[in-house]
Symmetry: C2
């Protein structure tokens, strides 16, 4: 048995969550419902203008790994923070959830602080993300512990991390160590704009190394440059063993071994959509590592997503295993 | 018209909120439902043991002032943070709510960080507070802007701030400047253990300077060293023009001008009791400054308290003025 079921690699971030309205988004040139990268100056000036906020550890793959840990999975995370207060908050929250997190912190003298994401939540529960990457941009190949990767059944790579100068090489190193030891590689496309920025790199990785692809409707259509969701799924399924394509309230499609499974979403009152895809992936991967079938994994993912969008914050607050039992999944 | 209706002075803190259970409190020697002071070592070791948390600006008087600002009152706050990430979070959240906050930050080199309160919330909604004061302990008389105090209709003093070497003098300076310009002084006893630590100093201030005393049942009985709540209220009323004694779900007693008003609590499902007393005081003081009668002020306080205990965090998230209108108070 390998030490880890899932090791995630991604952008380590603390979320700064504030309520706002559509007018504020328009006045400040913020694209609604998407993730936009901002620099430190913009982070400071935007923060000055938003209302009272709360800080909750986030980061897409980190949320996924927190979900795996919450479920009792054997899991670890790799991502860079600085040795500052937000960095320690990030580290605490992940470890307190039960994940292993040993990535060396950037020293306090580093000009780039711990990354943060100003998440503006509108009354419809949609979140508009403004991400200052800070030092998490500089995840370096040396931060990849190849011994850890060799001990992973799955590594889970966050598409957002393609936005970093050294991270392609870091990913390559992680993939090599994992695959060399018989592990498998999952990738999430993260965001349609991220796909636009890095399509060629994504495509190369998908063709060569990815065993499981997570993408939502917009992302997979951007990836395969088509307006046809079914065609995009088919194109992905031609390249990847397991394709998991989420479609918000319309549920999720899983394509594997020539089969197509559709599982409906779990109806929920949306309070804050942050983390829905992240927790979906965490529950799906945990289910897979525990030996459940793909349909059950997808149902677990939907239940987990429904939990996390029912409250503020991108990590689970209710006992997900109990929810799985209520849904007859355990 | 004075520039400020209410200026609060207290411990500037960021709350670190985590869910826990009674067993954890017992194992870690944490007194349930009370505020206990801890040093930095204990803060670090306790933080290492708690589960995932979220960070929300707090501080008792700061919550009160946030409530006043939320209601649209003219308000300012005085309290010390360090020039670190948590300090900037504290400052942002108070200013973003509409309060004036100009206290000079302690430089980053100061060994004492921004104060924080590890708030452990049990399933019954009770909160057990573990306070590392950090640099907020060193609020100095020089931090009191006497011109600001002279511009205050009311100053609101947090009893917790008696736990600091220089703060008695700071309070004296604030009182002198406020009273010299015709303003009035409100005091909250904060906590029964705080009363035990500082009874003589409290008593002197109450007798000499306090125009409005906020206390809950346990605090006022500790103050007057009696097991009889009514007797404690009567003793306070003999010294102070307006006594406001809260009693959780049993409502609030207001004693003034020989009259005794009792107002029932607003029934609410308790999620997190943090800030109930703070928001009560904020709404009460705002009502008073706006010219409402004492009974209306008490009802406003109860409505505000019911809002803040219905969610995690000690500051309002719902439109309190709208709630006041629904209750026929505006």
């Amino acid at each position: 048995m390998k030490k880890y079921q899932i090791v995630g690699i991604g952008n380590a971030m603390v979320d700064i969550l504030a309520n706002t309205n559509d007018e504020f988004l328009a006045e400040n040139g913020i694209g609604k419902g998407i993730m936009q990268l901002i620099d430190m100056d913009r982070a400071v000036s935007l923060y000055d203008r938003i209302g009272p906020a709360r800080e909750i550890s986030g980061g897409s793959a980190a949320n996924t790994i927190a979900g795996v840990a919450h479920l009792g999975g054997r899991t670890a995370y790799v991502g860079k923070v600085r040795d500052d207060q937000l960095g320690h908050i990030f580290a605490h929250d992940l470890r307190a959830q039960g994940a292993v997190y040993e990535t060396r912190m950037a020293p306090l003298e580093t000009p780039d602080e711990t990354g943060r994401c100003i998440v503006l939540v509108t009354p419809d529960g949609e979140r508009s993300m403004n991400t200052y990457l800070g030092c998490t941009e500089f995840l370096h190949p040396d931060d990849i512990d190849t011994a850890m990767m060799a001990q992973a059944e799955w590594i889970y790579l966050e598409g957002y991390r393609f936005d970093g100068p050294d991270s392609h090489e870091a990913f390559a190193r992680a993939i090599s160590a994992t695959k060399g030891a018989g592990g498998r590689v999952a990738l999430t496309l993260s965001d349609p704009f991220c796909v636009e920025r890095h399509r060629a790199a994504f495509r190369d990785m998908i063709a060569a190394d990815v065993d499981l692809l997570f993408a939502n409707r917009a992302e997979i259509m951007a990836m395969y440059q088509t307006d046809d969701f079914a065609a995009a799924r088919a194109a992905a399924a031609a390249e990847v063993a397991i394709v998991v394509a989420t479609d918000s309230e319309n549920g999720v499609h899983v394509m594997a071994d020539g089969a197509h499974i559709h599982v409906p979403a779990v109806p929920t009152q949306i309070v804050d959509a942050t983390g829905a895809g992240d927790l979906f992936a965490g529950a799906f991967l945990w289910g897979l590592a525990e030996g459940h079938g793909l349909e059950t994994c997808a149902r677990m993912g939907n239940v987990a997503a429904s939990e996390v969008i029912s409250h503020i914050g991108a990590r689970p607050e209710t006992d997900l295993r109990a929810m799985f039992r209520q849904h007859g999944l355990l």
